[in-house]
Structure formats: structure tokens, C-alpha cells
Symmetry: C2
Subunit: 247 residues, 2 copies
DNA sequence: CGAACTTTTGACAAGCATCAACACGTGTGG
DNA sequence: CCACACGTGTTGATGCTTGTCAAAAGTTCG
């Protein structure tokens, strides 16, 4: 019982970032039944066109949502960390209009979407939290669109690194200036609308200017202010990542 | 009384596209108090950083949501037609993180956001409709990100034209192959992540290939299938624009 | 240890931006 | 009524950014 509940603790924490929950509401979330599944990198948690009967929750690892154009290229729409309810947004639509793919090894849990729906109908605070979580998601989306549409290659790369740093801090995955690097350069390109070759060159510039250093699987930010300036990171953006609360 | 309600009819219609409303719910929406304001092209309906106390509804004309990077450039995040509740997504955040700007002459109405919130708490059907409307909005956002991130100039332009055509049909603003053209080439560039000069060249190609023709303020689609092929418009996308319903 | 993937680097090509000049239409004031 | 300014559309010349192709070196994992 206790053991079953533990995976849901990050979810409770994430929801409470948005709207405070009382103990009854917390218990209701923790009581959600889980069906855990492990995925290798590249595995599909959700496939475009799937009939959506479950909501997919990341328990560990990193996953991406993505869409692709006819032939060639993939666009990563968002990146998801532990505690993220990835396809809440498919929750009321018949078919998923994107893939959800494991970037690293991922443990995910499927939750029947009907149960989440019931929960949100029963508890207004949970409803608000889910709503605000969605709003935060949309805010990140907007920033990505600005990033891809109107920034240069070097700015895009710096910006995405900044975002991942901030989100990992908010999720208590990292502390200090050393951060998980969940993705290949190709995947990073798919997130920024660039090719992997160009990503490599941009990372080299950031290394040469001593803003970051890369080891295997990790990035260390050497100069946070410098990196942020390179990214033109909006001041309000950092806020929206962590502190969208019910007002 | 009747006269006051008329502007809200398109909103009711839009909500009912998502989830059926009974007459009590319809009356509740129609009873919302409005404060109408007219804007010239370029006027700001909402400014980034504004404290959000009202929700902004488009009664006529076209508006855009946009963000800009430090110096130069603007990215249009979405385009809004009659009946759209533009900043529902700021509804629970203290400050707007984007501008809302009139593309054409616009009549807009401000509605206290608290009233919309109350409405959604009182009537589950309205809540679902607003939620699904938001999901549809996110679906469009995702497609824009794919468009800007992974498509060539010509594809981006064709794709956006296709989207505007579909949405105007869904909103009963146009019928047949002739469509309003609410924006300048510069604005079109801001929506697609290109420059106005390049937009001009891409439009010339589409005209030379006899896929569209342009007169002042209007675009006529001469070859819908050809234009859609040029855009690689996903089949599922057309659906998501109009038919996100409660399942 | 070897196979498969990822990173790195170079040479070259293509796409798009930038700058600039002119055409066209519209509204405004003299 | 004309002249003019201003915004928008059109086109050309040029250069930078990024993509493409290719090859070699490093890395991971069975």
C-alpha cells in the first residue's frame, strides 16, 4: 500500500506547486492505481493515433512529446521530467495527435484517464492544480515557439539548456551547477529546429566561450549569467516555469 | 437586454462545438456583462506584464498573440477570430506573458475573469467546453511549433494559409474558396518565423504555380488540394481545429 | 571485442536575411 | 485638387546562417 503510493509523491508535490491540497485531496491522488512500465530510450509511451484511455505519468527518466512532418523530420514539442503528467492534454480527445517517446530509460505509469477526470470533478483544488499545470505547459510552449521562430542557433541552444536547468532545479533532480543531460545532440536539434551537426557547432562555441562544459551524460554550467545573456532568457519565463499558482 | 446579448452568440456557438450546453447554461453565458472597446490595427488589447483582471473576447476582426525577443523580432503565437476568448490562459496567472494585438480593426469585449471562473465552477458543461477549447488551442500551438521548426519557407506559408481557411470556414466567416486576408506580409512573417521579404517571394511562387491568387485584403484559393500538398497538412490537424469534443 | 550509435570536423551548397531601390495605394493637409 | 508622406508590396544583389554530405574518432553495450 505504502509502496504503491510512493511513485505518486512527485505528482502531489507538483500539483501543490500550483494549488494547495488538503490531506483528503492528497490521499485521493495517492490512491490512484498505477500500471508501471519500463521503456528503453526511443521507446514509445504513446503513439500518434492511439485511442487515449490512459494518462501517462513519468516516474523516472526523460520523455519527449513530438510530431513529425511527412518524410523526414521530427519536432520535439516539449520535454518531460519525473512527476509530469504527459498527455493530460489528450485527456478528452479521442486520438493522440503526437507521440510520446522515451529520451532516456523511462519508468512510466499509466492511469485510466477516467479516474483523473473523476478526481478533477470531485475536488476543485485538484482541478485548479491540473488546470494551472496545463497553463504552465502552455507558457513553455509559447516560449519554445518564440525560440524556434525568432532566435538564432546559438540563442536557441543556450535557451533550451537554461530551461532544462531551471526545471531540474524545480523538480529537485539537480542541485548546483551540474545538470543531467538527457538527450543526444540529434534530439537537441529536434527540439530547437536545427540539425545535429549545427547543434554540435553551437555547443562547441558555448564550450569555447567557457559558458558550459560537457562530460558524458552531464552538462556543467560554468557561467550562468553569461549563458542566460546568450539565450536572452526572459525574466518572466523563469517565473512561469515554477510558480504558476492559483490567484 | 437582447441587444447586449447578441455579441456573445458566437461564443455560445464556439463552446457548443466542444460540449453541448443546455438552455440554462446558454443563458448564463449570454448574461455575462461586456465592456466593448474598438481598436485600430496595431492596437494592444492586452500588454505583456498587464495584471490580468479581464478576459478578452474578439467580437469582430482579427487579433494576434505575440511575444518578442529583446531587440528586434516578434513572434506571433496564434491568430484569433471572432468568438475567440483570447487570454483565457492568463486567467489564473497574475501577469500576461504575451501581448494581444489587433491585426485589423477589432471590436473586443472585456469580461471580468472572476465571472468566467465562477461560471466554470458552477456549470460542469461550460467548464468542459472551456477546457476543450483550451486543448484545441494547444493543438494548434503544437502544429505551429512543428511548422516553424521543421518546415521550409514555402511549406510554412502554405500551411498557415490552409489553417486560416479552415478556421474561417469553421467560424462561418467565409464560404467558398475566397478568404479574408487579415494580415500584412510582415505580420505573416512574424507568424511563420520568416522575414516579410521572404514571405513576398513565397507568395509569388504560390501565385505563379496558380495555387492561390491575391487581391487586396483577400486570398482566393485556386487549388485547394495542391496548396494542401504543398503544406503537408496533416489529416488529423484539420479535425483537431473544429471537432475537439468531450468524449 | 566488435557492432551500432554518437560526436566531431571539414568542404560545399542552399535557404533565408539583409540592404536597397522603386512601385503602388491611401489618407492628409495645403 | 494636387502634393506629399507613409505604409505596404515587389524585386534584385549580396552575404551570413544553417543544411547536407562525408569521413573519422570516440562511446556504449551486448
Amino acid at each position: 500500500m505504502e509502496a504503491l503510493n510512493l511513485p505518486l509523491v512527485p505528482v502531489v508535490k507538483k500539483l501543490q506547486l500550483r494549488s494547495p491540497l488538503n490531506s483528503e485531496e492528497i490521499d485521493a491522488v495517492l490512491a490512484l492505481p498505477l500500471r508501471s512500465v519500463r521503456f528503453d530510450p526511443g521507446g514509445y509511451l504513446v503513439r500518434q493515433g492511439d485511442t487515449v484511455e490512459n494518462c501517462c505519468l513519468i516516474l523516472s527518466g526523460y520523455a519527449s512529446r513530438d510530431r513529425n512532418t511527412g518524410y523526414k523530420s521530427r519536432q520535439i514539442l516539449s520535454i518531460h521530467l519525473r512527476g509530469d503528467l504527459v498527455d493530460l492534454h489528450n485527456n478528452s480527445v479521442d486520438q493522440a495527435d503526437y507521440d510520446v517517446q522515451a529520451l532516456t530509460h523511462v519508468t512510466a505509469a499509466y492511469i485510466p484517464r477516467r479516474l483523473i477526470y473523476n478526481l478533477s470533478e470531485t475536488y476543485p483544488a485538484i482541478r485548479r492544480a491540473l488546470w494551472l499545470d496545463t497553463l504552465a505547459d502552455m507558457s513553455i510552449s509559447r516560449e519554445w515557439l518564440l525560440n524556434v521562430g525568432r532566435r538564432s542557433g546559438i540563442e536557441r541552444v543556450a535557451h533550451l539548456i537554461c530551461e532544462l536547468v531551471l526545471r531540474q532545479e524545480a523538480a529537485d533532480i539537480s542541485a548546483g551547477p551540474v545538470y543531467d543531460w538527457p538527450m543526444t545532440q540529434e534530439q537537441f536539434g529536434d527540439a530547437t529546429g536545427l540539425t545535429s551537426v549545427h547543434i554540435n557547432r553551437m555547443l562547441k562555441i558555448l564550450r569555447d566561450e567557457e559558458l558550459i562544459s560537457c562530460a558524458k551524460g552531464r552538462v556543467t554550467v560554468l557561467d550562468w549569467v553569461g549563458l542566460r545573456n546568450k539565450a536572452e532568457l526572459a525574466k518572466t519565463y523563469a517565473l512561469s516555469l515554477n510558480s504558476v499558482r492559483f490567484a
